[in-house]
């Protein structure tokens, strides 16, 4: 693959990125809206363009199980899923992180049943928020393509050895045709060195993996996981920095747009960030001092960067794409409230849940969410959350 800019479906570009990353094993079970990725990867392998094993598994549960086996022998391993698939594999999803297996997943975010829906929101990924995976959220096709490489680089770093999920919005991104800049294979090979794992399953150096732990050892094992994901933070920054140097495309755990002089900000995660920026541009013309804060790194949570971005602002309108039923607010807002609690200069938070199961959130809707949020903050109505656009 040469360096080229082309108009292409985001799923296809992601599959091409996986091929450029020269993976050894792909195990995935088709589920809407992730299907185009696995279909295209199967085709790439069938055409001999990538020397890898494509394992057409019997379920997502088996997909993640195959990935665990393959990563445990030291093979570079990729999978992709959505929604019910993620829920089905949740058991092994958690184990893969606990066993420190550096698998990379393209997670095409979709709502969970019931009612059955194939459309986009963040309900699925919130289910596995505490599984111990590194979670990156992307906004557009280019970011989706780029972060396949950064994900492998982060996951396989000897200091990290954790699985990484690249969260990208189902349909809004998976099925979108966008101009995407491909990097050439040499750049990728330089950025992504050969995967070498310290302890693998091999008869020449036998190890036991996945042993059981009595109460005397379980707490310490959990602490190791916690340290591992916390210590991955500088590695993630470095991986993004180096990618930025190579390609000119820079990534940060928390990204801001026109926030320097803003009184208040809208906070988003995923593809809605793009709409938010457009709406903020037009609001600015009307004299609103508003900016956008985008959470790119969801786990490990970038506490300091986030606080740095928002401390001193009057208010935040946090847009959630999932409900935490019976909880204090949407999962993102709850997280941010907790990050800011008892911090000096902390803005008040107004929480809106919108765009569940693909219900469109247009520029006009965004405008309303932002302005109503601001008004609510001024009135001090900061409890709970609003479900935007609720009918009846």
């Amino acid at each position: 693959m040469a360096k080229v800019r082309k108009g292409i479906e985001v799923s296809i570009a992601m599959a091409d990125a996986v091929a450029q990353a020269n993976v050894d094993v792909i195990a995935a079970y088709p589920i809407t809206p992730q299907t185009h990725i696995v279909e295209h990867l199967a085709e790439i392998v069938a055409n001999g363009e990538l020397d890898a094993e494509f394992v057409p598994v019997d379920s997502e549960h088996s997909a993640m199980s195959v990935c665990c086996g393959s990563a445990a022998v030291g093979a570079r391993t990729f999978t992709s899923t959505s929604s019910q698939g993620l829920a089905l594999m949740a058991e092994i999803f958690i184990i893969s992180a606990a066993m420190r297996l550096p698998i990379v997943m393209a997670l095409a975010n979709r709502s969970l049943s019931s009612p059955l829906s194939i459309w986009n929101d963040h309900t699925d990924t919130m289910l596995v928020r505490d599984a111990g995976w590194i979670h990156i959220f992307v906004e557009n096709g280019q970011e989706s393509y780029d972060n396949i490489f950064t994900a492998f680089r982060i996951a396989e770093d000897p200091e990290v050895m954790l699985p990484v999920a690249v969260n990208f919005d189902g349909f809004i991104l998976t099925h979108m045709i966008e101009p995407i800049e491909y990097e050439d294979d040499e750049t990728i090979a330089a950025y992504l060195p050969k995967f070498q794992m310290k302890n693998t399953l091999h008869p020449d150096h036998p190890v036991s993996m996945g042993c059981f732990g009595m109460p005397e050892i379980y707490t310490e094992a959990q602490m190791q996981r916690e340290s591992a994901i916390r210590e991955s933070y500088p590695v993630i920054l470095k991986a993004w920095d180096e990618w930025g140097k190579l390609t000119g495309r820079h990534y940060r755990p928390v990204e801001t747009y026109r926030t320097e002089d803003a009184d208040y900000c809208i906070v988003t995660m995923g593809s809605y960030g793009e709409t938010a920026m457009e709406v903020v541009d037009s609001l600015r013309q009307e004299g609103e001092k508003v900016g956008v804060v985008k959470i790119r790194l969801w786990r490990p949570f970038p506490n300091e960067e986030f606080c740095r971005a928002v401390l001193g602002k009057k208010s935040l309108v946090v847009l959630d794409r999932a409900i935490s039923f019976g909880g204090p607010g949407g999962p993102v807002a709850s997280e941010l409230r907790s990050a800011l609690y008892q911090k000096e200069g902390a803005p008040v938070i107004v929480n809106t849940v919108a765009g569940l199961a693909g219900r469109d959130v247009s520029r006009n809707d965004f405008r309303k969410i932002i302005l109503e949020g601001k008004a609510k903050a001024q009135r001090g109505e900061t409890e709970g959350f609003d479900l935007y656009g609720l009918r009846g």
């Binding site: 050894d24 094993v25 195990a27 020397d51 890898a52 094993e53 394992v55 057409p56 598994v57 019997d58 379920s59 549960h61 088996s62 199980s65 195959v66 990935c67 665990c68 086996g69 393959s70 990563a71 445990a72 022998v73 030291g74 093979a75 391993t77 058991e91 092994i92 184990i95 066993m99 050969k194 399953l201 091999h202 008869p203 150096h205 036998p206 190890v207 036991s208 993996m209 996945g210 042993c211 059981f212 732990g213 009595m214 050892i217 094992a221």
Partner: protein
Amino acid sequence: MDRFSVFSSRLVDKSENFTSGHRACQGCAEALAVRHVMKALGRDTIVAMSTGCMEIISSPLPLTAWKVPWIHNAFENSAAVISGCEAGMKAMMRKGIIPQKKINFVAMGGDGATADIGMGPLSGALERGHDMVYICYDNEAYMNTGIQRSSSTPFGASTTTSPAGKDSMGQHTQKKNMPQIAVAHDIPYVATACPSFPFDLIEKVKKAAEMPGAAYVHILSVCPTGWRIQPQDAIKYGRLAIDSCVFPLYEVVNGEYRLTYTPYRKLPVTEYLKGQGRFRHLTDKEIQLIQDKVDRDYQKILKRCEEGR
């Protein structure tokens, strides 16, 4: 010629790949089966094991009874995990990332992991035809969690979730025939075995490992704790199961059946049932039902073996 092999305990590999010091119950024939299996497979083996008795007794952190690379992931997925190991190694060897080497990829699980919760992943792995061996250690109930019934528990057995009582004769369903389900996948090798017949077991596991593609070995593993027998009688009850034709020893090579052991004198099932606490409540009428079923099933196997000649 293989039908006339002569076995001697001196010819069996003396090295232990599943070492002593593990925490199995006294008289555990399943641990014995694992030991024989690992002798047959040798060191160039990767084992993926399901959650269950053998996993718990052999891997309490920071100890391990395994001298070969071993992985435990979850209860139901050892077949899928070993599929991944095989696929990963195959790709890396082909790409020159690691040197070529013949490795046995072996998944192991109990009857619960095999016939119940892990049926889907096992079927998937067999159908995909990975170069692997799946070994089911069948002790006929969920022994690890305290003797609850599985679909592999035989008709009439009393377990903690199929207890015999005033209105119940214990397990009222028939044992799921896992070897036949494996055969239905058209894989090159399926066999039944029992550690009471160690040479037969070792030969079958070796054959399963040598055969390219997926192989399935179903090992009846007597559980003194769950069957309510004395620990010193585990081997005896294995023999009785086979001599009464409750559990015939056979293999299916590329669809061709062969009985690997014919009892000198076929014992009545009462010989096998009596003395086992799990069957002690059975009436003569129920025992007759069991005898009839055993006879019918054995005839079926004999017929398939004859067809193969």
